[in-house]
């Protein structure tokens, strides 16, 4: 319990520091959102309206140390403000319309990569020296060495454009109404194939290798030898004893990965026009949309923290040794 409380306190401090940095950094960027809009419009917006547009959009000219307390208060009360680049849509609405898709893509990819990667790792560790152990990990690592936007575009080109096997863009076929019908879910799944595949291919090697190495280390422990001596079935030893213990570092890694999913697989979303948070994040940064940027950073930081905290709790449950410290 004390462990949990300590971690909680620590996370709160880290959270406060992060949001402060999230507040400061964008304001160090040169320029302001309205002139950014002006340059984007390339002559369509009237320069004489800039000042009032600024007021309208809520661009704050006060020095940052005056804006900061108000910002903190808003964070605590959950008021995320109104987006500048999508004025007058509130930030919360912008984020909530995109977040589910990023989460879907991220979680599906993560789960597939984790499950398959770890399974492969377990099997490879069990069958040392086999094809699975010698050649598959290096191959998967090689795949994972490609910049993932490159892989995404390659997949799009080969499977989408040339072969026409998968849809090219978006989260579901245009014109379909979202519902829980089988048709809709199947459509979403089909549109997930390529984006998720590109993320999975890049990350699976890491999971496999990590699990394999940990398993090998675990396999040499005495209690495994004992289990074999007792005559337990190898598959039971493999799953119930080795894998169970080797899973712990994997759990921590999963925790860290969950948090970063929310940051959005930016480039994948751009390549596949997936309506998630990732692209919007970059657009917000480049458009100097402070409220949206802050809202998104907050969401990401909060998610990372929450995930880490949950993982810590799970870890404590899985590994009784931690409690003893």
């Amino acid at each position: 319990m004390r462990f949990i409380l300590r971690r909680l306190g620590f996370y709160l401090v880290a959270f406060w520091l992060s949001i402060t940095l999230n507040f400061l950094l964008p304001r160090l960027m040169p320029g302001d959102p309205v002139s950014r809009m002006l340059s984007r419009s390339q002559g369509q917006l009237d320069p004489s309206q800039i000042e009032s547009l600024r007021q309208l959009l809520g661009v704050d000219d006060r020095p940052w140390w005056q804006q900061y307390p108000e910002y903190l208060w808003r964070v605590l009360t959950g008021d995320l403000g109104i987006s500048i680049s999508r004025f007058p849509t509130p930030v919360a609405e912008v984020i909530s319309s995109q977040l589910p898709w990023t989460l879907l893509l991220g979680f599906v990819s993560l789960i597939i990569a984790v499950v398959i990667g770890n399974l492969l790792g377990i099997l490879a560790a069990w069958r040392r020296g086999s094809f699975l152990d010698s050649f598959v990990p290096p191959f998967l690592i090689f795949l994972g060495s490609f910049p993932y936007f490159w892989l995404a575009m390659g997949l799009l080109y080969v499977f989408g454009i040339t072969l026409g096997w998968a849809p090219l863009s978006h989260a579901y076929s245009v014109g379909l109404q979202p519902s829980f019908s089988f048709e809709f879910i199947a459509d979403v799944a089909a549109h997930l194939v390529l984006p998720a595949l590109s993320i999975v291919l890049v990350s699976i090697g890491g999971w496999m290798l990590a699990m394999r190495n940990t398993m090998i280390a675990t396999n040499s422990e005495d209690y495994i030898l004992m289990a074999e001596a007792k005559g337990l079935r190898p598959s039971r030893i493999m799953f119930a004893y080795s894998a169970r213990n080797a899973m712990l570092p994997a759990v921590t890694n999963v925790g860290m990965s969950i948090g970063f999913i929310v940051g959005g697989a930016l480039l994948t979303e751009v390549v596949f026009a997936y309506p998630g948070v990732g692209y919007q994040l970059m657009a917000a940064v480049q458009g100097l949309d402070y409220p949206l940027m802050q809202g998104m950073f907050l969401t990401i930081t909060g998610a990372v923290l929450l995930a880490n905290f949950l993982i810590d709790i799970i870890y404590v449950r899985l590994d009784p040794r931690v409690r003893a410290h």
């Binding site: 960027m29 002559g43 069990w126 309506p275």
Partner: protein, 556 residues
Amino acid sequence: MISNRNRVRRFAGSLLAAAAATALLLSGCSADTTGDPGASGALLTVPREDMGTFNRNFNPFSPNAAPMTQQAVYESMLVYNPADGSTTPWLAESWESSEDGKTVTFHLRDGVTWSDGEPFTAQDVATTFALQQKIVEGSFPYVEKVAAADETTVVFSLSEPFSPGLYEIGQQVIVPDHVWADQESPDTFENKEPVGTGPYTEVTNFQTQSFDLLPNPHYWQKDKQKLPGVRMLAFAGNDGANLAAINGDVDWAPQFMPDIETTFVDRDPEHRHYWFPPTGSMVNWQLNTTTEMFKDPEVRKALSLAIDREQVVEVGMSGYTEAADCTGLSGSYSAWKDESLIGACEWIGYDPDKAGEMLDAAGYELGTDGTRTTPEGEPFAFDISVGSTSTDWLSVANIISQNLADIGVTATVDAPDWAAVTAGYEQGDFDTGIVWSDNAPTPYQYYRSLMSSETLKPVGEQTFSNYHRFSEPKADELLDQFSASSDEATQHDIVDQLQELYLEAAPVVPLFPGPEWGAYTDVRFTGWPTEDDPYATLSTRSPTTVLVLTSLEPAA
């Protein structure tokens, strides 16, 4: 003991089989890809390549409302077409300005109804302008009062004669008084169910990645409302939008496409066409005239002669536009160009030898190492600023830099994010840069931003116009005369004089008119504007878009 090898194998095998089966099942069951136009008549499908996702916000006073808000949902009193210089009466049938230029009267069309059935009246116009001035202060600064003289007449009282104002007023989209007058905060009103006079106002099927606009049941031009509706698709970049266009998933492609002949047209040459009229804003290479080395107009003219505009346009802009002509005006002002000046290019062209001579004469001598020095003995070197994400302009800057290196001038391309570049422009903290310019129905705003002292601000004071900080007193005179006069002949004469002044003073180095991107396929819809029939441009974000929407019809 059962062979465990087999066990493991069987387990793995069944996993794989299950995965494969699921994948096949899902791909087979998925609804058809976006190629399917839909059962009940194809909607006009249009991509939007810079938004990633849509939000349900149709407030026309916001610069960031959903696409088609100002084109399909709301309309204005007149439509000016830069492609052929014509003006089409729209919600107003006619208009006139008084002798002294301080009163403009619009006569509205009879029988126009809002999409909710309420009649369209002059009060709507009055309310719209009041709202616009309230929400964005500084809008229409010359408009003192807007009054509805009767149901179909609106009178604008101006504080001073301002003839270009006619178009600005005429192209303001009108909102209904009965919806907006009682809004407590019209600036943050999201207007999710818009009520407009436009052809396609009924928002349906709104998703983050697409939405549909179905026909306005009370539209005033029933015979011009031939489409089943308009569908907008969101994309996060040009690539996605281009892919959709190439695949035939969209009908209209108003975004930049590399090598459009091979990528797009060749797939279906019978139906696919493109047209990039040079009616976008003029793209200039602006030299910061507060810097010592750019103060001499001869130097500016010399640098202009060093640029191979053909290469700039062919390689940098993929041949999608043409080099600036001798007037330095964009194609949108073709009706204003002084014919006599077009042939007499003194300094807008490619003549590196002459450029070298002019620089020598101005004291910028060529050294033994092949680079020039200023009269003060400093190396003649400077930066060219451009935003990194505009790759076509980046190529242009690179080509200019190469051209200048050939005559001994060292120009380094500086390409950070546009936010940083624009900030530099606004503060006057830059050497040179590739910059857009104002694009309006008359060249008034353009020349004002180039040479007027009214737009001039010193370095360090933020400005949003006239970044190169140049002014010419004679320009002020001419511009005042222009805005005071509403007689066309006088206006043309004044603009001729302005063009002459421009050629003398060389405030900026003109490069090329920005092309208005536009491509389409007429597989499903015909009636598009073309070079031979330029009744509108192919842009989806301009006042002329509504002309296209009311001219298209399903293919036979």
